[in-house]
Amino acid sequence: MAEVNSRQLLKKGAEASLSRAERYGRQVVIKARLPKKYRPAELDTSIRSYRTVHEPQLMNEAKKAGVATPTIFLVDVKNTAVTMEFIEGKQVKQLLNYLSPSEQRELCVRVGELIGKLHAHGLIHGDLTTSNMIVNGEGKIFLIDFGLGEKNMELEAKGVDLHLMKRALQSTHYNLAEECFENVMKGYTAVVGKEEAEKVTEKIKEIEKRGRYITKRQEET
């Protein structure tokens, strides 16, 4: 198979390496979870196989919830590699800082709507960062990287998911973080409803207070 040789490394991430290739005339991404030498082989194998199997399942479920994700073509459990559709576009991380305030607002609201759709269907992304969202040429947002996700309806899981989104905004888009997160929550509220959104917001506050050094907790005591 000549195709196999035409792999081109896109990115070596922390967890997996992404390569681009052509399969049957389609542009695909091969996400290979490589062994990690630092952890015991037993633990390493179980983590990698678990994520390889679960990620495509969740991506498929996300589609049913109305959230665009790359289509899965092949799940190679033995080699802990997943072949999926290549999405031509830009990461939200790359875009956000260069948009006008109104465009920023709109993008964040749409991201919030997508998270709302996932949560309403009992899906937790597990790693909501602006690197894991791709906007294609038509302006459609795709969510990727469901490796740390799970199916979970509990308030706790939803709260943590959004708390992580907020944390990711704070570390990568520190100047915009607060406003962006507010807009994410607007979009989220529009999908899940005011009552549910309020419950989740309360949960996020509770989760933040569990953190070691949150000033709010001190003020209250």
Binding site: G13, K37, Y38, L43, L164, A168, R210, R212
Partner: protein, 338 residues
């Protein structure tokens, strides 16, 4: 900048169980680093008892440090102290000593963030410039890197700290704190004898991690008594360290920095060092561990960070020197970095 004469900063650390005094020159030479630890009869740190200990040993530790540095207190240019984060009563004791000393000597006072100090002493002692820093101790577990005026947090625990997790398990397993051998070190020794990896929860949530579930599961298995203690120590360490390592690797891949710094009390653990070294190699980053003497809480790191702050125009007026129990590292401006 040329100083007319040799300038010194004396730093006071008292965030938890250690009361420490360090003296640093403005060039970063550590002249003294003396500390005295409060060791509870049983259980963890009782804040009030620890603070009482600090008050009792303060003058002794101070005079030992001054004797060691062999300087006249009148030549001190600035007094720094750990203003937070930490345990209230302990922090207040150190702050009181610092205020008294600064007003007696009529020199400026500088409040220093304890977590920033752990990173800065690690950088000073290993000649690191711009690392991804993993700071792991009894009270903190965070991955930070400098970005636009501050250290930003790229990963942290959602609940308990790594050192806390290991210490609680060690106590449950009947290990005792002995002079010269902290609980974590005792656990590490036992873990090297473990052979079988027992399945325990592995909880990485995005860039953060959670350790409380892991601790509960490990303690429950310990109480059931079906596994060898050595195997449980080994498995607990492997799981916890792998989680910490995974979030550290994420930060390294995300920031693309070329240095990795391990700092804080748990940095002394050899197994953790090995794991992080492997990650650094994978990402072509230079790996550094803070030297043992500066790994646990110490006064030298407060003194050195005091120098950095003071020489960049930061002073803390006495009326603003109240302690900050939950002072996050990403709330601190670090003007000495560009």
């Amino acid at each position: 900048m040329k100083e007319p004469e040799e300038a010194y900063c004396l730093g006071i650390e008292s965030t938890a169980d250690d009361f420490g005094v360090g003296i640093s020159t403005f060039q970063g030479e550590i002249l003294a680093n003396i500390s005295d630890a409060y060791i509870p009869e049983e259980g963890g740190i009782h804040p009030r008892e620890a603070a009482r200990h600090h008050a009792e040993v303060a003058d002794k530790v101070l005079s030992e440090a001054l004797t060691k540095a062999n300087i006249n207190p009148k030549t001190l240019r600035v007094i720094s102290f750990a203003q937070g984060p930490g345990l209230g009563p302990c922090l207040r004791t150190g702050a009181t000593v610092a205020r008294a000393l600064a007003s007696y000597l009529d020199v400026p006072l500088v409040g220093v963030n304890h977590s920033v100090a752990h990173i800065e002493i690690g950088k000073l002692k290993t000649c690191t410039r711009d690392p991804v820093a993993l700071y792991v101790s009894g009270g903190n577990t965070l991955v930070a890197a400098f970005e636009c005026g501050r250290y930003r947090i790229f990963g942290e625990t959602l609940d308990i700290a790594l050192g806390n997790c290991l210490d609680v398990f060690a106590r449950e397993a009947g290990l005792r704190h002995r002079q010269g051998l902290p609980l974590g070190a005792a656990l590490e020794q036992l873990a090297t004898k473990g052979e079988k990896l027992v399945s325990l929860p592995y909880t990485v949530k995005g860039m953060d991690l959670s350790l409380s579930g892991l601790l509960t599961a490990a303690v429950t298995l310990l109480q059931k008594g079906k596994h060898k203690v050595e195997d449980l120590c080994y498995s607990l360490q492997e799981n916890a360290f792998s989680m910490v390592a995974e979030v550290t690797e994420r930060a390294l891949a995300h920031t693309e920095k070329k240095e990795l710094l391990l700092t804080g009390g748990v940095a002394a653990n050899k197994r953790l060092q090995t794991m992080l070294k492997s990650i650094a190699e994978e990402h072509n980053a230079r790996f550094n561990v803070v030297p043992h003497e500066f790994a646990t809480d110490n006064g030298a790191m407060i003194a050195w960070t005091g120098v950095l702050s003071y020489t960049h125009g930061l002073v803390t007026p006495v009326e603003e020197s109240f302690v900050k129990l939950r002072w996050r590292v990403d709330k601190v401006d670090v003007p000495w970095l560009k």
